[in-house]
């Protein structure tokens, strides 16, 4: 589904990604962990197409298509979803209007008719159950006045509504209390199917107690330096990142 080869990216001439390699297959959940500043969020932004970053080298294929040349909206329409670390507020634009515009833009790209108002509302009712989101939230403006936890829940709600092929969750667990964390995790687990995939970007192992990854990768200094199963996350939790750093420096 996703194949990243030797991806390099920089911001203002400062190289942040220095040759990332990663393959994600349908049905898989990957966790990308790593200390602060290792390039985790940059990787998410580059995949989504944020223009702040310049890709200097490498290739990213998404379902066989080279997405690095695509505009961010086309990547989204191809089925790539990013749950933002800091979801943005859009005052005056209702969640209903926003999501319906979004969904219809994606449908248009696929050559489908716009969804009718009644089908849309039905879809919303169904998907709300998956995320246990308060109806009040969906009637408010996009993220406006939402608490940190509400914003993150709202990201997962949008994910299940738009039903992408690949979801990248950037630090979705940060700032969540234990109840909200459980809700978010349930949303992701319920959504998981053999034909979609998830990349979890996280600093802590906590989220991985609820969403069990097939693979855990450690990103350090812009490169994936270690890959393992879910037990790698536990090891990191117990021992911290220092031993990884040490290992890496020994390699260099």
């Amino acid at each position: 589904m996703l194949s990243i080869k030797n991806l390099h990216a920089k911001i203002d001439d400062k190289e942040i990604l220095r040759g990332v390699d990663l393959k994600v297959k349908p049905g898989e959940i990957h966790a990308i962990m790593g200390p602060n500043g290792s390039g985790k969020s940059t990787l998410a932004s580059v995949l989504a197409g944020h223009e702040m970053f310049e890709v200097s080298e490498g290739e990213v294929l998404f379902n066989g298509k080279d997405i690095l040349e695509m505009a961010p909206e086309d990547r989204a329409r191809e089925g790539l979803f990013l749950s933002f670390q800091y979801p943005v507020e859009i005052p005056g634009v209702s969640m209903v209007n926003f999501l319906r515009t979004s969904l219809n833009e994606i449908r248009k790209y696929k050559g489908q008719e716009p969804i009718s108002a009644s089908d849309f509302l039905k879809l919303m009712r169904e998907k709300k159950k998956l995320v246990d989101i308060d109806s009040k939230l969906t009637h408010r403006s996009v993220n406006e006045g939402f608490s940190g936890g509400e914003k993150k829940k709202n990201e997962i709600f949008q994910m299940v509504m738009l039903d992408p092929k690949l979801a990248i969750l950037d630090e979705t667990d940060s700032g969540l209390d234990i109840d909200a964390l459980r809700i978010v995790a349930n949303g992701v687990n319920n959504w998981k199917r053999p034909d979609n995939a998830t990349i979890l970007i996280t600093h802590y192992q906590r989220l991985l107690e609820y969403i069990v990854p097939d693979y855990v990768h450690v990103l350090y200094r812009g490169r994936i330096v270690k890959t393992g199963g879910k037990e790698l996350a536990q090891e990191l939790e117990a021992k911290g990142y220092d031993w990884i750093k040490k290992e890496f420096e020994e390699q260099v």
Binding site: A71, P72, E73, V96, N97, S102, L162
Partner: protein, 482 residues
């Protein structure tokens, strides 16, 4: 609502000023230029009583002593007032009794604008008065309104048929010597609408006037007068368009509203005069005096305006809060693009006790345009417990445009509570990227964000005009991104 949204979005991709066509219709016009003879001739052609001619001549003589205002934040070219036609009428039968008698070309024009003159507009609950160039073409729905004692007709007809009401109220809120353009209008005004709502009557439909400048070199000077007697209510709308032309055309209107005890008047404008082309060539100069008088206790006047057109806009719909407990509201969206200039805002004059006013102004600047809010809140000595809240927001698209806020306060009573909030923001790249990531392209995202920003104001408009206003905003922003 959202299918409407889709239609709107589809429209956006088309862009351009879509009301820029010209109707080839026979015109009966006076020669260019202004003098007392021209004024006499206008008055004669309209079959006016003597008092009206006197009103005009007095205004004209006063105008000759005045100078064009210099204080607005506008680059105002010299206007040659002798190079303008002051009266132009579509040539047709002198009096229209039914729709069949309306010139088919004319009817087609209004159909094109989406203003059906047929009575089926009744279904939508809107009565329409259509003004082309200098004269009112057709007022729909008149008979139904007449049953309730409501008068809704062209001002020319009102001058002939209801001279007492005109004598009593015309010029009572905006005196002919009020300002330069008001004096000019009072001298040469050609047509417009008159609304009278008698005691205790709630007008059952939206009343609407549609103004269209068609003829070349013509100025449009319309005059609207609304009188709401005790315990009455009316909601009134006006829409404006003009063909695309290289030269500038002048529009100098006056609107007067009088609200008596416990009366409520809502006045909404969707103004889309031709703004000029991308390089600032052509376009309408829109110099308008709009003022409402809350004469009776507990009366209320509310202005809502969506301004997307005109090369230059200069207008300050105002409320004079004379009655105790009276209230005034002003909701405004002013969007400027390319080389447009707007200097607009409101005046809230608190005279009575316990009067309230609310101002919500949303400016949007794009291209190389300049957008100014200018607002006055005045509280007189005797106005105990006056309240005002003003919120002025500016949104900038790009870095070549400007937004300016000029709030004036004159408070002469220390029981007054006045609050003013102002913000200036840019559409954030992070907001656009967020939309992009949800599959929404940048142009659509800007439309979405702008319509969110103005929602508070748009919500004040009746439903179908709200849709039109949203559409206008989208179209007007075409090409302003990236």
């Amino acid at each position: 609502m959202t299918t409407e949204q889709d239609k709107i979005l589809a429209e956006v991709t088309k862009g351009e000023y879509k009301y820029g066509f010209y109707t080839d219709i026979e015109i009966d016009a006076l020669p260019k230029g202004l003098n007392e003879d021209v004024i006499r001739e206008i008055s004669r052609r309209k079959g006016e009583p003597e008092f009206m001619l006197e009103f005009r001549l007095k205004a004209y003589r006063h105008w000759l002593t005045m100078e064009a205002p210099k204080w607005p934040h506008l680059k105002l070219p010299e206007i040659d007032f002798q190079d303008i036609i002051y009266y132009a009428a579509p040539k047709s039968k002198p009096k229209l009794n039914s729709l069949d008698e309306v010139d088919p070309e004319l009817k087609a024009t209004f159909d094109k604008l989406g203003i059906p003159l047929e009575e089926q507009k009744q279904l939508a609950g809107v009565a329409v008065d259509a003004v082309m160039d200098s004269v009112s073409v057709k007022t729909t729905f008149k008979e139904t309104l007449a049953e309730k004692g409501i008068i809704f007709c062209s001002i020319s007809e009102a001058i002939r048929e209801h001279p007492d009401l005109i004598k009593q109220y015309l010029g009572s809120v905006v005196p002919p010597n009020d300002n330069y353009f008001a004096a000019l209008n009072s001298a040469v005004f050609s047509d417009g609408s008159f609304v009278f709502i008698p005691k205790g009557v709630r007008c059952p439909v939206e009343l609407s006037t549609y103004f269209r400048i068609n003829a070349r070199d013509t100025g449009q000077f319309e005059r609207t007068l609304i009188v709401a007697e005790d315990d009455s209510y009316v909601s009134y709308l006006e829409g404006c368009t003009a063909p695309m032309r290289d030269e500038n055309q002048l529009h100098a209107a006056i609107v007067e509203i009088i609200a008596l005890e416990r009366a409520e008047v809502k006045y909404s404008t969707v103004q889309n005069w031709y703004p000029g082309d991308k390089n600032g060539k052509g376009g309408i100069y829109n110099f308008v005096t709009k003022r409402g008088l809350c004469k009776g206790d507990y009366s209320k006047i509310s202005w809502t305006q969506v301004e997307t057109g005109s090369a230059i806009t200069w207008k300050y719909p105002s409320c004079v809060l004379m009655g105790d407990h009276s209230s005034g509201e002003f909701y405004s969206v002013a969007l400027t693009n390319n080389y447009q200039q707007a200097d607009t805002g409101t005046k809230m004059i608190h005279l009575g006790k316990n009067t309230k006013s609310l101002v919500v102004s949303k400016g949007i600047s794009a291209g190389r345009s300049q957008n100014s809010y200018r607002g006055l809140v005045k509280v007189s000595k005797k106005a105990e417990n006056a309240r005002n809240f003003s919120q002025c927001d500016s949104l900038l698209l790009g870095d070549k445009c400007g937004a300016h806020t000029f709030p004036y306060l004159e408070i002469n009573n220390n029981t007054a509570k006045i609050e003013h909030e102002a913000t200036t923001s840019k559409i954030g790249e992070d907001q656009i990227f967020y939309c992009n990531q949800r599959g929404i392209d940048t142009e659509t995202a800007v439309g979405l964000i702008v319509n969110g920003y103005v929602k508070e104001v748009i919500n004040q408009l009746p439903m179908e005009f709200a849709v039109e206003a949203q559409k206008l905003l989208e179209i007007s922003l075409e090409g302003s991104v990236g």
